[in-house]
Subunit: 224 residues, 2 copies
């Protein structure tokens, strides 16, 4: 009877691995089924480490929420690309990224919904949500503004914010319902649906955004 052999990890590595185990357990078994022991087992540690790194299980779950939204927004922002010279392509890519895998996944939506459901009971969750929502909204508003500027269509700041709110709602809703694969329509229709609807919301020509559906490569197809 010997003790389990183990490896000392750096603070960041250990934390990250435990947070990922937390998310995995919640996604797979629900919040109820995500017990301290099960999470620890998945992270290949013992339950005592939770206290050592996060103080309590509740604090670890909260940290896992922050970790999740951080990953989600980073993923979407990266997918949109940094190419600022084609505002409409940038916006289109951003929208597409939000309604296609890996961002579109039942795992992500399950986790997200689970945490949203705790906001009302535990105010700490509200703070994280508010921040991530504001980030997303700001990102959208900037992109919309760029699109309008390129088309030399002046819009008031207020109208631009309204459009950002609406666009955010559209993206959120499509991401959500699209991820819970209910078999009511094929998920590959989502990008086209999203882009056409977004163009409508922004009063652009119907195909102004869906034009950019084709290119899958990182390199833009135009010469310059």
């Amino acid at each position: 009877m010997s003790r389990k052999t183990f490896q000392r990890l750096s603070l960041d590595e250990r934390r990250r691995s435990m947070l990922e185990a937390t998310l995995e357990c919640i996604a797979q078994h629900g919040l109820d089924g995500a017990t301290a022991r099960r999470i620890a087992e998945r992270a290949n540690v013992t339950a005592g480490l939770i206290r050592h790194y996060f103080g309590s299980k509740e604090d670890m779950v909260l940290a896992a929420y922050g970790y999740l939204v951080g990953q989600l927004t980073m993923q979407a922002a990266q997918a949109s690309g940094q190419d600022a010279t084609h505002p409409e392509r940038r916006l289109a890519r951003f929208i597409i990224a939000n309604v296609t895998p890996p961002n579109l996944s039942d795992r992500n939506v399950s986790l997200w919904a689970t945490f949203i459901g705790r906001i009302r009971a535990l105010p700490s969750y509200a703070d994280i949500h508010r921040e991530s929502y504001r980030d997303f909204l700001d990102l959208l508003e900037t992109m919309i503004h760029a699109v309008m500027a390129a088309r030399q269509r002046p819009v008031s700041a207020e109208a631009c914010q309204d459009q950002a709110v609406a666009l955010n709602g559209l993206i959120d809703g499509l991401w959500l319902e699209g991820s819970l694969d209910h078999g009511l329509y094929a998920a590959d229709r989502l990008p086209r649906i999203a882009l056409t609807a977004a163009a409508g919301i922004l009063s652009l020509p119907a195909d102004a955004l869906s034009i950019h559906l084709e290119p899958h490569a990182d390199t833009p197809p135009d010469r310059n």
Copy 2:
């Protein structure tokens, strides 16, 4: 030391009161905090009744989910009115109902999100969600079709369904983010935002739907 005095209720009344207690507890304390004892206390019964009426706590919670979505869709459908002679007004009212109280409430969103978060772990939840989603989608599709017919604008069934999916996403997203009152914008801006965006998605004139924002009374203001 005498026993608690009690009153025999009909099957439906008792069930409903226990389901409502379940929802209230989940909304207030989260799924973790909604223990069988706490729910029973709120319903003014003892925990043993859960077994008697639902077999198990898990089955009761599932029934509560069904009860919730039933209430939500009924509420929205009623608010849209039965007046089929003004398709655009009907659609507008339906949209407004979804982004204003009592449908817009953090309680409802908290509950909804909590249940959505369980879909992946417990397939029974997926069935309920799928059914309610389909109902909502069908409702929207019918309304959109009526609007287009009244404008004598022929649209293919496929295009109509795409618009319904997009509109549903918009409504879902705005309802969701609007309910979690994050203080980033005033909730009373939502109806106008939603109607304008919806008009855009359907390629209608920008104010085609928001025209119907004003009338609060049940009686339409036009003579006929």
